[in-house]
């Protein structure tokens, strides 16, 4: 026991240090705090309403509980939101992701049922269909200069029709051990799909933040002409952003189809584009482009999914589902609005009138920090 103590202390101190660092960062950028606070608030209120909501048990060698459900159910939205964030960074928007999900699910199901191809080729074909859809959107936006909302609206409407053509309007059920594992099985106590999505998130964040790609994409979103003048190949970047979004949506489509072991061309991914856009905005990104927060986007996804799961477990009468969800989302957005934050800051300052000078200093340094970005 005594032997073990010192290292524990050391890690504790390390943790403490990391926490301090995080708090410092949050003080500098109070904006990043809001999504975390909202998520914690929603979780704690739900825990009060539904006892046992935060409970996690160990069943059949894996974790089991509502919190795991939130991660599990949030994966399709998280993937789509990741692609959406990158597209929104280029001052675009991708409304077609729901339809791409339907297409990729349909391709997965029909190829699994009608061919003897190995499952990896089937998955590659489904992901390929997403890339082709993204290429289509990207060409319309970057080469033909059609406004993103209109360009992707075309595929949003037509895509579901294409998926219905592929499945001939039926729900195509399939059986495949690999796909079933992707949809519902566990690895190291967590659902496999959570690992897949975690991998995608880390990969995206590394590529966007550790290489200059993220900077270029935000630069294109902030000012296309200026970025072109400094030598950034804007068209290619925008094209690849849409292809990335298509790829993410297709992966999400495979997961959704694997989940119910069937492709439901009418309902798979229906309205998911709106949830994804909401998650990106909850994270503090601007729809005018040039500024995205990938990590916070995932927190945004968790807020939305927590709400959905919380409402389902709460025993709320069905008629109130949508109104309650909308009201809470509105509250979260209000918490994040600059006006509310300023008002709160003012109240905070007047309470601490004596420390006013100090506060002012920190405010100015905060402003300075913001201008730097």
């Amino acid at each position: 026991m005594i032997d073990i103590r010192p290292p524990i202390k050391a890690t504790n101190m390390k943790k403490h240090h990391a926490l301090q660092h995080l708090l410092k960062r949050l003080q500098k950028q109070p904006k990043t705090l809001a999504p975390f606070v909202s998520l914690l608030l929603i979780l704690s209120v739900t825990a009060l309403i539904t006892p046992g909501f935060l409970e996690i048990k160990f069943v059949n060698g894996h974790l089991y509980g509502s919190l795991i459900d939130i991660l599990h159910r949030g994966t399709p939205t998280a993937l789509v939101a990741l692609g959406m964030a990158v597209v929104i960074g280029t001052r675009g928007i991708d409304l077609s992701v729901g339809a791409v999900i339907a297409i990729s699910g349909a391709v997965t199901a029909v190829l699994t049922v009608n061919t003897d191809w190995p499952v990896w080729i089937v998955i590659a074909c489904a992901l390929g269909s997403g890339l082709v859809c993204g290429l289509w959107n990207g060409l319309l936006v970057s080469i033909f200069n059609i406004q993103p909302i209109v360009a992707t609206l075309i595929l949003m409407v037509a895509g579901r029709g294409i998926a219905q053509m592929i499945t001939e309007g039926q729900i195509v059920t399939f059986h495949s051990t690999v796909l079933n594992a992707i949809g519902n099985e566990f690895f190291l106590a967590f659902p496999i799909r959570v690992w897949i999505v975690l991998g995608m998130i880390i990969l995206t964040i590394v590529v966007m933040r550790k290489t200059s790609l993220g900077l270029f994409i935000e630069a294109v979103g902030a000012n296309v002409r200026a970025s072109r003048l400094v030598g950034i190949e804007a068209r290619l970047l925008v094209l690849s952003a849409y292809m990335f979004s298509g790829f993410c949506a297709a992966l999400s489509g495979i997961i959704i189809a694997a989940d119910i072991r069937g492709a439901d061309a009418n309902n798979a991914g229906l309205w998911l584009e709106l949830d994804a856009i909401l998650a990106v905005v909850l994270a503090g990104a601007s729809l005018a482009g040039g500024r995205i927060y990938l990590g916070l986007t995932i927190i945004g996804v968790l807020i939305i999914q927590t709400l959905t799961t919380a409402i389902l477990t709460s025993g709320l009468p069905v008629q109130y589902n949508l109104v309650v969800k909308a009201t809470i989302i509105l509250a979260v957005l209000l918490i994040q609005s600059p006006t509310t934050r300023q008002w709160l800051a003012k109240r905070f300052q007047s309470k601490r009138g004596q420390n006013a000078k100090k506060e002012q200093n920190s405010t100015s340094s905060q402003n300075h920090g913001r201008a730097d970005q």
Binding site: G52, Q164, L312
Partner: protein
Amino acid sequence: MIDRSIRQHLSWFDTLKQHLLTTVLCVALPVCSVSASAENLTIGFSQIGSESGWRTSETESIKAEAERRGYNLKFSDAQQKQENQIKAVRSFIAQGVDGILLAPVVETGWDQVLKEAKRAHIPVVLVDRGVDANPDLYLTKVASDFREEGALAASWLAAKTNGKCNIVELQGTVGSSAAIDRKAGFDAVISNFPNMKIIRSQSGDFTRAGGKEVMESFLKAESNPKKDICALFSHNDDMALGAILAMKEAGIKPSKDILVVSIDGVPDIFKAMMDGESNATIELNPHLGAPAFDAILAYRAGKTVPKWIKANGPLYLPDTAAAEYNKRK
């Protein structure tokens, strides 16, 4: 504005022309009603979509019946949207069809478009669902009695559990008449049994994914789901199939630990019964084409048509599941 008034004028003129023609024919030919029944009718059919296996088989049954009779069927898929259905009905009216089949996605908001059809003297037959509008505005409704289906499910469950059961319910799309009436019929029967009650009820939107997600949350919300939940009542088979997957993943045996009763009778639920994963389904009769077309013929012959032509299906149990599955494959 000018455009619109001309178009209105034209459609009015078209209708008049048609009526004059029919009147002339009827005066000239004493066997008018016979010739009307043998003629090639043009029928518009506004379908909700193809959200479930049942709806697909209904569409196919109606298409097949129209083909058998040599009718020209104009089919429109609304993809779950009322505005698309209203557009479709308006376009049928503009094309001057002989009758319209409408499977309404929700109950309310149909008054205006039904009035337009009535003004154009085109009979509207509601198929498989009702609307909340003046019955004078449509010819008839050809549908199962959703209340009776809900009541039948509840009666079966009461008999199976000796009137003692904690039930979780998967509701259909909020506001749809199938969801409202199946719930009402079910509630009416279990209210006679003091030890039967619905402990949780949520909407799974009639979809497999919805049923699965909601059932997962039900299972998490109970501390000991195997003991606390005695049966699942699902407003359609697809949601029940999703819920069965959720139960299996939580280590619960569907149909043994938790009884499963649902409505519609789609092929996959018979397969689930064969595999011992579901207990009962009540068939929602999809063969509504023949009674609907007959109603339009009766209207054309000047006969009175009842406002509700009931077409209820039976309750199926696992013993006949294999035979029924092969019949439907």
